[in-house]
Amino acid sequence: MREPNEAWFRAVYAECYPAVVRYGLRRLGASGPAEELAQEVFLTAWRRRHDVPDHELPWLYGVARRLLANEWRRTRPTFVELVETPAPAGGVDELLDVRAALATLSEDDRELLRLVGWEQLSVSEAAAVLGCNRAVCAVRLHRARKRLTAALDRAVPAPAKRTGALL
């Protein structure tokens, strides 16, 4: 059983910090706020170090999600400037289409899809972040994925509006 002391905290920080910053980057769109969010997440982890499970990352994502919901979303824009993002192999249009389609879904759908698609979590891990059981999460993922596909099949956003996407 690991002892949640400062050495443990430093190890967790070193291992998980980049992932938590990227979590923030995907939702806040800029590195400064993402790093600040990560600091808040790890301060919470330190204060609640006796509650942190051995598999820390999903727990940290859960903290980040609550912080965003409680504090950050109120004051921070979630508009992602695509100019900061490198073009993917499939081309800019494809990237824009995927993000535009994602933006049409509900926040619950988006967060589940992001956790699986971007944070690379399993269904069980995503369920832990979202506070639901695995079976429910699997069903929600299936439906969210179908809604995303349907949204992609619908009209392509006008080029004039392709400067960013609300994720």
């Binding site: 400062e6 905290f9 430093r10 920080y13 070193a14 291992e15 998980c16 910090y17 980049p18 910053v21 990227r22 980057l25 995907r26 769109g29 590195s31 600091q39 790890f42 301060l43 919470t44 330190w46 204060r47 609640r48 509650d51 903290v63 609550r66 912080l67 409680n70 504090e71 109120r74 004051t75 992602v80 900061e84 993002t85 490198p86 993917p88 192999a89 499939g90 494809e94 990237l95 995927v98 993000r99 994602l102 899809l113 992001r114 699986v116 698609g117 971007w118 690379q120 399993s122 269904v123 699997a138 993922l141 299936h142 994925r145 995303l148 596909t149 992609l152 994720l167």
Partner: protein, 303 residues
């Protein structure tokens, strides 16, 4: 792997905004880890903090300690009434959130030491509830507090009292995030807990106040010693949601000990400068507790 998982990753993967974002290695050196207690809303076991001192216990030496620790009673004015607010009144969320997001480290934040020190200046008669006859009183004391709650209170020109450790907690960081029933209670309780907080705890406290309906920004305001800060205020709920002043003769007891509390924060560091409690119908009498000279030290004050 679950087919949906694989399809989602295939679909979203290339559109990941953080796909190629450079992120440096994690280094927790700059984090302030001294706040030992959970101060987040999802905290499991907030540190209990007595909301009110038992009034009959306000006697003798113990009464003096409690008075310095937080009890604000009806007091007289020193040096005239605080200056009127001068700028940007409105919802507390506006000025408090801006203040929380922009606070800078204070002098004490950059110091190290076992004890948090703060000078506390109070004006009033803390045992007024006992007899109602005590004269107005000026009390100035230096307080040193260790993480376990132990420390010392030394009254300027008087005696000093050693404080025992608090079982299971720290008085200095003991912000409880159990939401108070009313805005006035929230302002009272968080104001009392804010005598000496580190930067992250101050930020959390200010955000918490910003999220409290009924807390209003009064703009810039000077405390009784002339320091200008950002003031927020809350009225007792029985005065109605749109109260802006205290009518004469109004009494908010027993629900509250006061009808209005105002907090003044340092606009740069977010530190609490003063907590004011006006007397209804008598603007010349305002109770207040002022905080100054915060520092960190390894040396407990001399008896």
């Amino acid at each position: 792997m679950n087919r949906d998982v694989q399809r989602v990753r295939d679909l979203l993967g290339p559109a990941d905004p953080a796909l190629s974002a450079p992120v440096g290695p994690g280094d927790p050196t700059g984090l302030c880890l001294e706040t030992e207690h959970d101060i987040t809303p999802e905290g499991r076991a907030p540190v209990p903090r007595p909301r009110r001192a038992p009034r009959l216990a306000l006697a003798g030496t113990f009464a003096a300690v409690l008075a310095v620790a937080g009890a604000v009673a009806v007091v007289t004015q020193l040096g005239g009434a605080p200056a009127a607010p001068t700028a940007a009144p409105g919802p507390g969320a506006v000025c408090l959130a801006a203040l929380a997001d922009g606070i800078s480290p204070s002098t004490a934040d950059d110091q190290t030491g076992r004890y948090k020190h703060v000078r506390i200046t109070q004006y009033g008669r803390p045992s007024v509830e006992v007899t109602g006859q005590e004269p107005w009183k000026v009390t100035v004391a230096d307080q040193w507090t260790a993480p376990d709650g132990s420390g010392r209170v030394a009254f300027v020109g008087g005696n000093a009292i050693d404080l025992p450790a608090v079982p299971g907690g720290s008085v200095s960081d003991g912000i409880t995030y159990t939401r108070s029933r009313t805005a006035l209670d929230e302002v009272d309780n968080l104001g009392r807990a804010a005598s000496h907080l580190d930067r992250m705890a101050r930020k959390a406290m200010l955000h918490r106040l910003a999220d409290t309906p009924g807390v209003r920004c009064m703009g810039e305001m000077s405390d009784p010693s002339g320091r200008t800060g950002i003031a927020v205020t809350a009225f007792a709920d029985q005065l109605g949601p749109n109260a802006t002043a205290l009518p004469g003769g109004v009494d908010c007891k027993p629900q509250h000990l006061s009808c209005q509390t105002t907090l003044i924060f340092d606009p740069r560091t977010g530190e609490l400068l003063a907590q004011l409690t006006p007397t209804p119908g008598d603007p010349a009498k305002t109770a207040y507790t002022m905080y100054s000279d915060r520092s960190r030290t390894d040396v407990l004050g001399q008896l």
